[in-house]
């Protein structure tokens, strides 16, 4: 029998609009100084929105910020941890190499912020079949929200799908399998296909049980 949840899974989507701060820097020292004082929305823009914009590239551009987010930010606020990590990296480099190359006009790094939108879609699921159907229909922005951003809010490190599989359907093994997929080494479309694959495989087992 296919287990049915009491509370459905609501698919939301995450959209964002970049804000220009007018702040631009031309060397590493200035970069580190501004990262120290930048609001969280700025850090978000240069890490997560960057990732969302480039998620389809194969191979993906090297993106240390995103890796910092996944490996460092499991136990603290996004802004503070990431800020410290990036500033420390730059300052260590500066003290080693004293690299203060001044870039010419037009090559500056522009600090940007983000305003984020949380939008409910019309898709919700009470069981795994409905879940697979919903996941097929939502945009990758929804997948991004439920996989990447979910890991940054409590319960930290856990994506929304795994949380719902485990707590609402008692599907702990499926939850673990989805959780162990590394979202940083594949495109969102690839990730979507793999999650749907895992859900369908589990459905097959349940249907024949």
């Amino acid at each position: 029998m296919i287990p049915r949840a009491e509370k459905p899974f609501h698919f939301y989507t995450r959209l964002s609009l970049p804000l220009l701060t007018g702040i631009k820097v031309r060397n590493l020292r200035e970069l580190a100084e501004h990262i120290k004082t930048a609001p969280e929305s700025v850090i978000y823009q240069h890490t997560h929105r960057y990732l969302q914009q480039h998620q389809y590239l194969v191979p993906e551009p090297s993106n240390d910020f995103a890796y910092w987010v996944s490996s460092v930010l499991q136990d603290d606020e996004l802004g503070d941890e990431l800020r410290r990590a990036v500033v420390e990296t730059i300052e260590a480099h500066l003290s080693r190499k004293g690299d203060l190359r001044q870039l010419p006009e037009g090559k500056e790094f522009h600090f940007m912020g983000t305003v984020r939108f949380s939008v409910p879609t019309r898709y919700q699921a009470y069981d795994l079949a409905e879940f697979a159907d919903g996941l097929r229909r939502v945009s990758v922005s929804s997948l991004y929200l439920h996989i990447f951003e979910a890991r940054l809010r409590p319960p930290l490190g856990l994506n929304d799908f795994s949380l719902w599989f485990d707590s609402e359907l008692g599907e702990a093994a499926l939850a673990k399998k989805v959780s162990s997929l590394d979202p940083y080494t594949q495109t969102l479309e690839g990730l979507r296909a793999r999650i749907i694959g895992l859900v369908e495989k589990r459905l097959e087992v349940l249907r024949h049980a």
Binding site: L17, Q53, G106
Partner: protein, 407 residues
């Protein structure tokens, strides 16, 4: 004109459904666009495509055009050039003409929409009426302000700061302002003649008509004959690699009849190309959208070796055809190309030559770049993303100080 559903096969139904989701949240709100011309120019072209799509999605989108005499348009032409960084003599009388025309339009136009969306400097001062109407006002600047003349900007800035927010096309265009500044990149329309898919037979026919031989891989730059587009640099780069590769270079541009400097550049280009049978110089009329589409689709590598650029949407047009693009790292081009992932960014003739050789010798890598480039455009530079960002902008009017807006 196409309806919004025509874009489903291109961007995916999930993306279009998401846009309808946003449109639903704008139900009952009127959006009035105001600019200075109904035809001609990039802004009118965008609005002519955008407004029908907005309406197709159920938005109450209106479009008004301000009216002015020749003297007004002479002044706003000066404004335009000055803001682009070309110094102008703007007199006190010029500013008066601008103010007077604004007054005339204020008495003529009904600006009582929920959101008033003003495009470019010509109608910017209409915002004077904002206090009385108590609605949301947004200013869309399509101009590259990175080298703006301070005098004209100082005149406009107090008006700009009366808006709820303003919108720029690239981070380098941002200003120090007391209001939020939003980044919304421009876009291309994948269904326009310039960008739509073309059957191979049509491409072949067009190439035959233009007498472009296809016996060797084509390397192309499409841009007007302007020093800032560096056509001579493209020729130099091509000639550096010629001993090592089999290829033909085509430089496609306009006739430059009404542009003395352009005519000089064209002459120099022709002179340089003259002795080399593998370099073709082609002057096409401004309406040759399908021809340019066909040439790009027949190309193996596309150049946009600009030395200075506004946003440089020609790069997105080339990327959309799935071609590897070598482009100058200037203006908005680095926003469109992630170097070595979705295209190549260069800073010199030597760099351009090095990468041209690499791409011609490594077709598998060139193919991957082209695929990534097309995907970059699909995700970030098509009209559907542009429209989605506009809807987000309208939804955020007056709320841009919030980091998270829950709809």
């Amino acid at each position: 004109m196409h309806n919004i559903d025509a874009y489903r096969p291109i961007v995916g139904s999930d993306v279009i459904d998401e846009m309808f989701l946003l449109a639903k949240h704008l139900e009952g709100r009127s959006i009035l666009n105001v600019n200075s011309t109904a035809v001609g120019g990039g802004v009118a072209e965008i609005l002519n495509r955008m407004i029908p799509l907005c309406r197709d999605m159920g938005l109450n989108a209106q479009w008004e055009v301000i009216q002015g005499g020749e003297d007004f348009y002479a002044v706003t032409k000066k404004f335009h050039n000055a803001l682009h960084g070309d110094p102008q003599t703007v007199t006190a009388r010029d500013y008066e003409v601008y103010e007077e025309t604004t007054e005339e339009n204020l008495s003529r136009l009904n600006l009582d929409a929920d959101v008033v969306f003003i495009h470019d400097p010509q109608p910017a001062a209409l915002v004077r009426k904002r206090k009385m109407l108590r609605n949301s006002w947004l200013w869309r600047c399509h101009i590259d302000l990175s080298r703006r003349d301070p005098q004209v900007w100082d005149f406009l800035k107090p008006y700009v700061e009366m808006y709820d927010a303003c919108v720029f096309s690239a981070p380098a265009f941002a200003q120090t302002l007391s209001i939020p500044q939003v980044l919304i990149a421009p876009s291309i329309d994948p269904l326009s003649d310039k960008n739509r898919e073309l059957p191979p037979e049509e491409i072949e026919t067009i190439l035959q008509r233009l007498q472009i031989p296809t016996d060797k891989p084509l390397v192309t730059q499409v841009s007007r004959f302007d020093r800032l587009k560096d056509p001579l640099g493209v020729i130099q780069a091509f000639q550096k690699v010629k001993p090592y590769v089999e290829a033909r270079l085509i430089l496609v541009g306009g006739s430059a009849d009404d542009d003395p400097e352009g005519a000089r550049v064209l002459e120099e280009v022709r002179e340089k190309a003259h002795a080399d049978p593998d370099i073709l110089v082609l002057c096409l009329p401004p309406t040759s959208h399908r021809e340019i589409n066909a040439i790009q689709r027949a190309s193996t590598v596309i150049f946009q070796k600009s030395l200075r650029e506004g946003f440089g949407l020609t790069v997105s047009e080339a990327l959309w055809k799935g071609k590897p693009v070598i482009a100058g790292a200037v203006g908005g081009i680095p926003l469109q190309i992630a170097h070595k992932y979705s295209g190549i960014l260069v800073h010199s003739v030597e760099g351009a030559a090095y990468w041209l050789k690499q791409l011609l010798h490594e077709p598998a890598y060139a193919k991957k770049l082209g695929e990534n480039g097309r995907e970059t455009v699909r995700q970030n530079f098509l009209i559907t993303r542009h429209l989605r960002d506009y809807m987000l902008l309208f939804l955020s009017a007056g709320r841009l100080d919030e980091t998270m807006i829950r709809l």
